[in-house]
């Protein structure tokens, strides 16, 4: 037996939508609604619970158009999502537009190195489909059931490449009035997603990070990267973060690695742990001071993904070892890492050799809570020091503090993530971290030009930018039906 809860206008909208696209694609039963009260990746009691009015599962672009039309008519906010969404605010009574059933891989072009996907395609689906094609896609440190769109579109951090900041190429977007358009070269019939901009401005850029507030993405293209003859993970250890950054910068400047990550010692020892390791190894590491690794344990470990012809990779390995020495570090042979940190090596192999995801057991252990910024190499070193100092003031319940960093855009910038591991139900500590995050972001921006990955609307210079965005928003979504909660954060001027 299904008990229904929506009433009045929303009930009418729901009935109309059921009639338009089929009742089986629209759920308004109480259990569906309460299980969508917090839609972000991971249960977070510090995020307010907001019950939607219905959850829609479109199976075609036309279903999306119908949903938007009806939402526009009744002026109900629509929140487009995939699986494992992050940082998507919701409002009470939203229509959650869950695109997971739109999961077709439309095209894989190994000639031009792109894939065109429906928004519900997951990383696991894409990496599986790419097996044997000689191409791979970007892989991060999250679970593979996350939709490519969820992580890749909102943020540029999912990476298998030092060379690009974003994996997104072109998009197909539907606006609230039913307009459908393609960004970049995909606008021309029969032409693939080769150029995001040429004769016209880059509209895909407008939608990257817009959290569905400017239109609903119904198709998109991502970059693929070739799998070369030989692929190897090179590992180097350093006694401090600064040396690790210099090492990575040097490597990237010499076009050596496809991809690098700098892990601090808490992170590289705990990220790949399996369920048993989480119960046994993790608590021991949690007790240790992040600033004082045990004797012989490098503070920072850099994993560099090397690929090419066999001779080329051999040469790269030699270069990595030489450059590591130059920055007071040393290469760690895989056998040594395997012996000392077996699960770390297993995780790296899975990620780099099979280019598939580790399960998010690490993430779940208290849940990440911290901040992400982009900064130039010299500044990122200072940001790390600032974070270490500031986070240590949060007390033992927020620790240990884990961090990792990726270079992007040929090493011009580094993404840096710093986080505490409070227990999931420790709302007080989580809120303390959230407050501290804003403080550190403001300070890091002021002192070290570190760009926060999530805008607050409070930073100097944001006002004019947001004012322009608000004008665009008004033109594209005059009834403000696209993700009102996210919009309220972004389009402040409109609110005033």
């Amino acid at each position: 037996m299904v008990i229904k809860t929506v009433t009045s206008e929303k009930e009418a909208a729901c009935q109309e939508l059921k009639k338009a696209i089929g009742a089986e694609k629209v759920r308004d039963d109480e259990i569906t609604l309460v299980t969508h009260g917090r839609i972000n990746h991971g249960f977070d009691p510090s995020i307010p619970y907001q019950k939607p009015s219905m959850v829609v599962f479109p199976e075609s672009r036309e279903d999306v158009i119908e949903t938007l039309k009806i939402a526009n008519k009744y002026k109900i906010s629509v929140n487009p999502v995939g699986t494992a969404q992050m940082g998507i605010p919701t409002a009470e009574g939203d229509i959650i537009l869950d695109q997971r059933r739109r999961d077709k891989i439309i095209e894989i072009s190994t000639d031009s190195g792109y894939a065109i996907l429906e928004p519900g395609v997951t990383h696991d689906q894409l990496t599986s489909a790419l097996r044997g094609t000689g191409y791979k896609c970007e892989v991060g440190t999250m679970t593979g059931s996350a939709t490519v769109l969820a992580g890749g579109l909102g943020r540029g951090s999912k990476s298998f490449s030092n060379r690009h900041l974003s994996s997104i190429l072109d998009l197909e977007v539907v606006l609230p009035d039913g307009t459908i358009f393609n960004t970049g070269s995909m606008m021309y019939p029969g032409v693939g997603p080769h150029l995001r901009y040429a004769g016209y401005p880059d509209l895909a850029g407008l939608y990257t990070g817009a959290a569905g507030t400017l239109g609903v993405i119904t198709k998109f293209a991502v970059r693929l990267h070739p799998v070369n003859e030989v692929s190897k993970v090179h590992i180097a250890g350093f006694s401090n973060f600064s040396d690790a950054v210099d090492y990575v910068k040097d490597l990237v400047n010499h076009n050596i690695p496809e991809h690098c990550i700098i892990w601090n010692w808490h992170m590289y020892q705990t990220w790949p742990l399996d369920a048993e390791g989480m119960k046994t190894v993790m608590p021991e590491i949690l007790k240790m001071d992040i600033l004082k690794p045990p004797e012989g344990t490098p503070y920072s470990m850099v994993t560099s993904f090397l690929s090419g012809y066999e001779e080329q990779v051999e040469f790269y390995e030699k270069m990595c070892a030489k450059i590591a020495q130059k920055y007071h570090g040393r290469a760690y042979p895989q056998e040594e890492v395997e012996k000392r940190w077996p699960q770390t090596m297993a995780g790296l192999k899975q990620q780099y050799e099979e280019y598939s995801y580790r399960e998010g057991t690490h993430w779940s252990r208290g849940r990440w809570s911290g901040f992400v910024v982009f900064a130039e190499p010299k500044d990122i070193k200072e940001v790390e020091k600032l974070c270490a100092k500031e986070f240590s003031e949060l007390g033992p319940r927020a620790r240990p503090i884990n961090n990792y960093a990726h270079p992007f855009d040929y090493g011009r910038t580094f993404l840096f993530r710093y986080a505490g591991f409070p227990e999931t139900d420790d709302v007080e500590t989580r809120q303390k971290i959230a407050k501290k995050t804003v403080e550190i972001c403001t300070e890091a921006l002021k002192r070290y030009r570190a760009i926060p990955i999530a805008g607050t609307g409070e930073m100097p210079g944001e006002k004019a930018y947001l004012s322009v965005l608000s004008r665009i928003k008004k033109a594209l979504d005059p009834n403000n039906i696209l993700n009102q909660a996210a919009g309220a954060r972004m389009y402040k001027e409109e609110e005033e």
């Binding site: 037996m1 299904v2 008990i3 759920r27 039963d29 109480e30 259990i31 569906t32 309460v34 299980t35 969508h36 009260g37 917090r38 839609i39 972000n40 990746h41 991971g42 249960f43 009691p45 619970y49 019950k51 959850v55 599962f57 699986t83 494992a84 869950d98 997971r100 059933r101 997951t122 696991d124 689906q125 990496t127 599986s128 097996r131 999250m142 679970t143 593979g144 059931s145 996350a146 742990l273 399996d274 369920a275 048993e276 390791g277 989480m278 119960k279 608590p283 099979e354 598939s356 995801y357 399960e359 998010g360 057991t361 993430w363 779940s364 252990r365 849940r367 227990e423 999931t424 139900d425």
Partner: protein, 385 residues
């Protein structure tokens, strides 16, 4: 999970759920949907995580316990696929599993008087009336092999499943062919697995205690089970429920048969070529990790060729038998149909399983002329030895 557990006890573990829906799929690179309810209705609500989020919504008073909650809780087929896949929940220090939370939702529903209509209600009424869900087993050992002092004790399960009677008969014939002495544990009284899974916990503890009291004197012997649900419950749950439980040697009938072929006590006779596909029952496979023995038995049968279904072993797709709620209409039948479709795609002649519930579930959705194509492993072996 202890029977004194409450929803509060799963809150901490539940709140580690990443909401990623990974629990609904098999492993990379195939990524095949394994969770029947998610396969039927792809939505976060219908994943293991959805059940955890509902538990948390109940604890946060975002929803009241009502008939819908019960119908939803009983709609899960209980196939354990989510717990096999998701390491997040089981990596929590509370050692809980997603299925524990689902059973707790059922138990709490029952406490509040919400039991779904249909099979679950029927069982509940019987349990409330008699304090038991047991029937006297129809398994009668022939005098030739019956020996109360034998080291092997056949656990004579009650005959809830329609297929159990025929499976028991085949088992007796096979034991007779093997010829080793066997004793029988055929006391009246449910082992408790059904009551446990369905949340009828009020009646469970006395039942399990009484059962254990009768089993205890035999604990140095090896218990052989035909029904994986009974075996899994005894192996994995008795230690959690009974403070004085001590491990009992146990075997599934497929393991006993595999041994019998290996030591020459059972011989195959070629009665013609046949292609079979083997369906791993959830509690025998994911519950007890017994995947090889049934396949070894099939390999020992002359003329039998095993063709695997796409989803097999740890990634087997459920038969749908235990989806007893009606929150998702036709879930049980549609799940069985999907599995039968997968079997048909192999081109095999026979669908072999090793659980009476699975056999019943498949036969329920097959045409009269095809019903005979579903057999229990014991039945196939009996025919061909």
């Amino acid at each position: 999970m202890k029977l004194a557990a409450t929803l509060e006890d799963v809150q901490a573990a539940s709140s580690t759920c990443l909401r990623c829906s990974w629990c609904a799929y098999g492993p990379w690179p195939e990524n095949l949907p394994l969770c029947p309810i998610y396969w039927h209705e792809p939505s976060f609500t219908f994943t293991g995580g959805g059940y955890l989020f509902l538990a948390m919504a109940l604890l946060e008073n975002k929803i009241d316990f009502n008939q819908s909650v019960a119908d939803y809780a009983y709609s899960c087929a209980g196939c354990l696929a989510c717990d096999t896949k998701c390491a997040v929940i089981r990596s929590h220090k509370s050692h809980l599993h997603i299925m524990d939370a689902i059973r707790l939702l059922r138990s709490e529903s029952v406490k509040r008087g919400f039991v779904p209509e249909g099979a679950a209600r029927k069982i509940y009424d019987e349990v409330r009336k008699t304090g038991d869900y047991g029937q006297v087993s129809e398994l009668k050992l022939p005098e030739k092999i019956k020996n109360d002092k034998a080291d092997t004790v056949i656990f004579a399960e009650c005959s809830h499943a329609g297929s159990q009677k025929d499976i028991s008969k085949s088992t007796i014939r096979l034991l007779e062919k093997i010829g080793s002495p066997v004793s029988q544990f055929a006391e009246k009284g449910c082992c408790g697995s059904t009551l446990y899974d369905l949340g009828f916990w009020e009646q469970l503890e006395p039942l399990v205690k009484a059962n254990w009291g009768k089993m205890k004197p035999l604990k140095d012997k090896t218990f052989v089970f035909m029904n994986p649900h009974c075996q899994e419950f005894m192996v994995n749950r008795y230690p959690e429920i009974l403070p004085d439980y001590s491990a009992v040697k146990n075997q599934h009938i497929s393991q006993l048969l595999a041994d019998a072929f290996k030591n020459g006590k059972l011989k195959s006779k070629n009665t013609g070529k046949v292609k079979v596909s083997y369906h791993d029952p959830c509690y025998l496979g994911r519950g007890l990790k017994i995947y090889d023995a049934p396949r070894e038995v099939l390999a020992a049968l002359d003329g039998v060729e095993l063709v695997e279904m796409k989803r097999n072993r740890e990634n087997s797709f459920c038969c749908g038998a235990r989806a007893l709620g009606d929150y998702v209409p036709n879930l049980s039948e549609d799940t069985a149909r999907e599995r039968v479709k997968e079997f048909e795609a192999t081109g095999a002649d026979l669908l072999i399983t090793a659980c009476a519930y699975c056999k019943d579930s498949f036969q329920k959705v097959m045409s009269e002329k095809d019903k005979g194509r579903v057999k229990d492993l014991t039945e196939l072996v009996d025919e061909r030895t």
